[in-house]
């Protein structure tokens, strides 16, 4: 790790001020990706702005018909939250599948969404439920937010403050863990809100999280596991590495989609 200056603001305003003033500063929102990268000397931000003491970024609440989660809520807080468990139980379950206990106690939803790792779990949930990423400057619909590997709509100086999920009628997530890293080798989220059905895939796409239109169409006809019978994604546009060829990952998308639907239906 190279030397850096550490800043710990108490408000979003102070954090934004530091971010504007300090050149090449990085936000520290749990640090479960950033710190290992820095330890390996693969990242060298001269300034770290730690958001862990910014109270405005915490808290989980239902507001109207949405579940709003503060950006600095840890995965542990989300998975154990009674509010999340009641509103969107599948989301609580998803948070409990991230990393290991140490990661879940430090890593945050805002950090994960800002990083947009192509194998992270949250992007699938946000995109499936049509969530809104709320920053200190604006509100960004998930459809516009995720823009490819580690790429988002966030602009310089923008800080995620909350993520707002419209509460769906049904939501399920099925994850096939990468054998070593425990990220999603393939993760599929399924959400149903009225007649709107979305199936999203993380871990597998060569360009990050994506929607699987064929599965959405099949489920629109009837929201049931059986509707996906015989539906395979195939290897096109899918990642490959030693743990999963595009063929294997493509196949797993179909399997995980069924399991996600089953989970959404409480089966």
């Amino acid at each position: 790790m190279y030397a850096f200056d550490y800043h710990r603001p108490a408000t979003v305003r102070q954090a934004a001020g530091l971010l504007a003033k300090k050149e090449d500063a990085k936000l520290l929102a749990g640090g479960q990706t950033l710190l290992p990268t820095m330890k390996q000397r693969l990242a060298a931000p001269p300034h770290l702005i730690d958001l862990s003491r910014v109270d405005d970024l915490k808290g989980i609440a239902v507001k109207g018909r949405s579940l709003v989660i503060g950006a600095m809520s840890t995965h542990y807080e989300v998975t154990t939250s009674a509010i999340v468990g009641e509103a969107i139980p599948g989301l609580a379950a998803l948070a409990g599948l991230i990393g290991d206990p140490a990661v879940r106690h430090k890593g945050t939803i805002g950090g994960s969404v800002a990083n947009n790792d192509p194998s992270a779990d949250y992007p699938a949930a946000l995109l499936a439920m049509g969530a809104t990423v709320i920053t200190n400057k604006r509100k960004i619909p998930a459809d516009e937010y995720f823009q490819g590997l580690f790429t988002t709509a966030l602009e310089d100086g923008e800080i995620i403050t909350k993520v707002s999920f419209p509460i769906p009628g049904k939501f399920g997530y099925a994850k096939f863990r990468h054998p070593a890293s425990r990220y999603a080798l393939v993760g599929v989220a399924v959400a149903k809100r009225g007649s709107d059905i979305r199936v999203t895939v993380t871990g597998a796409g060569a360009d990050g999280v994506f929607r699987w239109a064929a599965a959405e169409a099949a489920l629109k006809a009837r929201f049931a596991v059986k509707s996906l019978d015989g539906l395979e994604h195939g290897p096109e546009g899918i990642n490959g590495d030693i743990h999963g060829s595009p063929e294997y990952r493509g196949h797993l998308i179909g399997v995980m989609a069924k399991r996600a639907v089953a989970s959404a239906l409480g089966k």
């Binding site: 790790m1 190279y2 030397a3 390996q40 000397r41 096939f176 054998p179 070593a180 890293s181 030693i242 743990h243 999963g244 060829s245 294997y248 196949h251 797993l252 399997v255």
Partner: protein
């Protein structure tokens, strides 16, 4: 704590300090004025070093020194050695290239040591290392052991044409070919024994220290055998004479073989300590463990088994290419030769065996012993052949094994080993019962109803451990003897210090050894201290590997205790005014036969030191004895493991549902510790079979250089094991013990692959049987089932 007994499950006394963070590891050691070393490593698998520019690094903040291979050469520091000479079948000695601790002219694997930066802080050393400019001429790399001998492959060392270190063989080729000629069935299999990284919890570390007043060096290092390290560093590498070099291996957090070897980093730290006039510390980061600690296994094998019409084995033929990496590590040449081929007879009466082994260089990290070392590779060959043959000739795999078991002892195999004792069928029978083999059909049907594939696999393993009779290994090329030493120091009030040449790095010696002494002397365990790992305290020893600390290390303690008892009896005879032949020693008391006169062990010890009751000219005062114990034979632990798996063909996820292990370790000193060793061994074996694998890409980059890609086993991967033992006490050592440290890792991989192939209904899968590999293999099964 009271007097312990042999066979008692005493809880490990050392765990208190380990689990409360009070262990003292090399990284806990700080010497006054200590500087920190960082090694600049090669980013290329194979390259010529045209030029190294150190100037900017040498002048970077905090830098004490930047040293390279040229500095080693100037100081006449020798290269690292391989301590076991192997001769090729044409009689020529193995062809080894030089192995400098810091590269001289060439780098040969990613992670090879180019230079060391020594600085006030580690961060400064790393910063400075980035300022070293190395002009590499990148060369093509030879990476695949199956292709490295081919014409046109990159040459790792000029000294070894075609990258062939040796082409060695064992057994009678003509007799084996003749056996195959008359066979009614021949089974042929191609196997890969996947390459592994040891992954001890504690990474390697070293602190070198030099006292200019006395001209003495001290090296603190993560070693399984500090005396061997001292011997090599003194006699071969030339750091300092043995009397001027102290090697301390304090608490060590796991080794699994990878800490047997004498490495570049510790050599450099102790050499540099004098050169820069400061203690020098280095602690490996996890990535360095992956890149530059010796890896294990990595065989490519073709094997054949010949049987007659009655299912009796006639012969076994094996050809293995063993990847030795880019340099020969300390014992690398012995692992795929004498620790491998002599085990190819397994538990079976095989009249003819012929094994050929090519030891080959590649541009990868050195490969050496890893838990089991050669014996797991042999067992994998034999037990895969047994299972596949049984399936091909339509015999029950248990019955096929039973038909071929060695039944009378001693049994001379065609490949060196003479099995002294065993009852292989006893273990098999017990295992079949515990595993509910009869209920397998029912369980398979239940799984099938859920759309899952269930399979069961056997592994009837044998290992040769208690390594090893010195003269025998000497005749096979070993550069050292493999005896063990012990010293028993009885203090004046009867407490005892045991100095042992064995080294504990997780095995629980402090408990087991103290238990033995307590039982033998009739004194409470807490009166016994076990001292190891310091060449200034223990005079000489051969260390811990090859499941030798029980069979060899404890036998040395017994031999020294015999001498202590004999001497104490003499003292007691004077004190009790009786004839020495009338003194009996039992339950910690010396008594005069047929009387109630007696003295406790402590009282006799005191008398030995005050020396008031005997003539110091007739009997020496004091009570301290040492012994060297050279084993008469290897020991031959054996057993049967049965694995049962359930595969989800949709995803390839394989769940290990049941595991039965019945082992014959002879006499058990501490069954609790033995069970722990079995658990850990099986865990590592399951890891090898289903999860772990060090993968290099074609250019020689290690793809699995971190836990993001190297899949370690986790607690959730294992079922509750059913573990039992049988016992045929070992006749060749005084305690009747055989050793248990490696058995689990030796037995388990073939059991698991046999179970997976049983579930799949075909043999087409290699280790590690990852979800992806099993899914792919299961497609064939699903298609076959659909066709039926």
């Amino acid at each position: 704590m009271s007097v312990a007994q042999i066979g008692q499950s005493v809880r490990r006394t050392e765990d208190q300090r380990f689990v409360t963070g009070k262990g003292r590891y090399v990284d806990d050691i700080g010497r006054p004025g200590q500087a920190h070393a960082f090694f600049l490593r090669s980013p290329h698998a194979h390259a010529r070093i045209r030029r190294i520019d150190l100037h900017e690094a040498q002048h970077a903040p905090g830098v004490v020194a930047v040293l390279t291979g040229d500095d080693l050469a100037a100081d006449k520091i020798g290269g690292l050695i391989c301590g076991w000479m192997i001769h090729s079948k044409d009689g020529s000695p193995m062809k080894a290239g030089p192995h400098p601790a810091l590269a001289q002219g060439k780098v040969r694997y990613v992670g090879d040591h180019v230079a060391v930066v020594i600085a006030e802080t580690l961060a400064e050393a790393k910063d400075a290392a980035e300022k070293i400019v190395v002009d590499y001429e990148v060369l093509p790399a030879a990476v695949d052991p199956a292709k490295t001998q081919a014409k046109g492959a990159a040459q790792v060392h000029d000294e070894a044409p075609n990258n062939t270190v040796f082409n060695w063989h064992l057994g009678d080729k003509a007799a084996t070919d003749a056996a195959f000629a008359k066979a009614s069935h021949v089974t042929t299999i191609d196997l890969v024994n996947n390459r592994l990284v040891a992954n001890a919890m504690e990474p390697r570390a070293a602190v070198g220290d030099y006292d200019s007043g006395t001209d003495n060096f001290t090296l603190y290092t993560t070693s399984q055998n500090p005396h061997v390290a001292r011997l090599v560093l003194s006699a071969f590498i030339g750091i300092a004479p043995e009397n001027k070099l102290r090697v301390i291996a304090p608490d060590v957090g796991g080794g699994f073989g990878s800490k047997i070897f004498i490495y570049a980093e510790e050599t450099v730290c102790v050499w540099a300590a004098k050169k820069v006039g400061r203690p020098v510390k280095w602690v490996a980061e996890r990535t360095e463990e992956f890149l530059a600690s010796a890896h294990g296994r990595d065989h490519v094998t073709k094997a054949e088994l010949a049987t007659d019409a009655a299912g009796k084995i006639l012969g076994l033929r094996v050809h293995t290419k063993a990847n030795l990496g880019a340099y020969l590590s300390t014992f690398s040449s012995s692992v795929p030769t004498y620790l491998y081929a002599p085990l190819l007879s397994g538990q079976y009466d095989i009249p003819a065996i012929y094994a050929e082994v090519d030891g080959v260089y590649t541009n990868t990290a050195p490969v050496d012993a890893y838990r089991g070392a050669g014996r797991p590779e042999a067992t994998f060959v034999v037990e895969r052949l047994m299972e596949v043959t049984a399936r091909q000739i339509g015999m029950d795999p248990a019955a096929f094994r039973q038909r071929n078991f060695v039944r009378s002892f001693p049994h001379q195999t065609p490949v060196i080993m003479c099995y002294d004792i065993g009852d292989y069928n006893a273990s098999l029978k017990k295992a079949l019962e515990l595993a509910d083999y009869k209920g397998l059909g029912r369980r398979k049907r239940e799984s099938a109803r859920k759309g899952l594939l269930r399979g069961l696999g056997f592994s009837a393993y044998i290992e040769a451990c208690g390594i090893a009779p010195s003269a025998a290994v000497g005749s096979l090329g070993a550069g050292v003897g493999l005896w063990e030493s012990a010293e028993v120091r009885v203090n004046p009030v009867g407490t005892v210090e045991i100095l042992t040449g064995s080294h504990a790095h997780g095995q629980g010696h402090e408990t087991t050894f103290a238990q033995l002494v307590s039982a033998r002397l009739g004194i409470p365990m807490e009166q016994v201290s076990i001292i190891h790992g310091d060449t200034d305290k223990v005079q000489m020893g051969m260390g811990t590997y090859g499941s030798r600390s029980g069979a060899v290390g404890m036998s040395a303690i017994v031999k020294a205790l015999d001498k202590v008892e004999a001497k104490a009896k003499k003292v007691a005879a004077y004190c009790l005014e009786a004839s020495e032949s009338d003194i009996e020693f039992k339950d910690g008391r010396f008594t005069v036969k047929g009387t109630d006169k007696g003295l406790s062990f402590g009282e006799v010890a005191l008398q030995a030191y005050v020396a008031h009751k005997f003539d110091g000219q007739e009997l020496e005062p004091g009570l301290k004895e040492g012994a060297f114990y050279d084993p008469k034979n290897f020991t031959f632990p054996s057993g049967v493991h049965i694995a049962e798996v359930e595969i989800d063909p949709e995803t390839g996820v394989t769940r290990v549902d049941r595991w039965t292990a019945v082992d014959d370790f002879g006499v058990l000193i501490n069954p609790l510790i033995v069970e722990g060793q079995v658990h850990g061994g099986i865990a590592q074996g399951i890891g090898q079979a289903m999860m772990e694998g060090a993968v290099y890409d074609q250019s020689g980059q290690l793809v699995t250089a971190s836990y993001m890609d190297y899949r370690m086993p986790r607690a959730e991967d294992f079922p509750l094991y059913q573990i039992a033992t049988t016992s045929t006490p070992c006749p060749s050592n005084p305690l009747g013990i055989k050793g248990c440290g490696e058995a689990g890792a030796i037995a388990s991989p073939p059991a698991l692959i046999n179970a997976i192939t049983d579930a799949l209904g075909h043999e087409d899968i290699a280790m590690p049987a990852t979800p992806q590999a099993v899914w792919k293999a299961a497609q064939k099964t699903v298609h076959k089932l659909a066709a039926e």
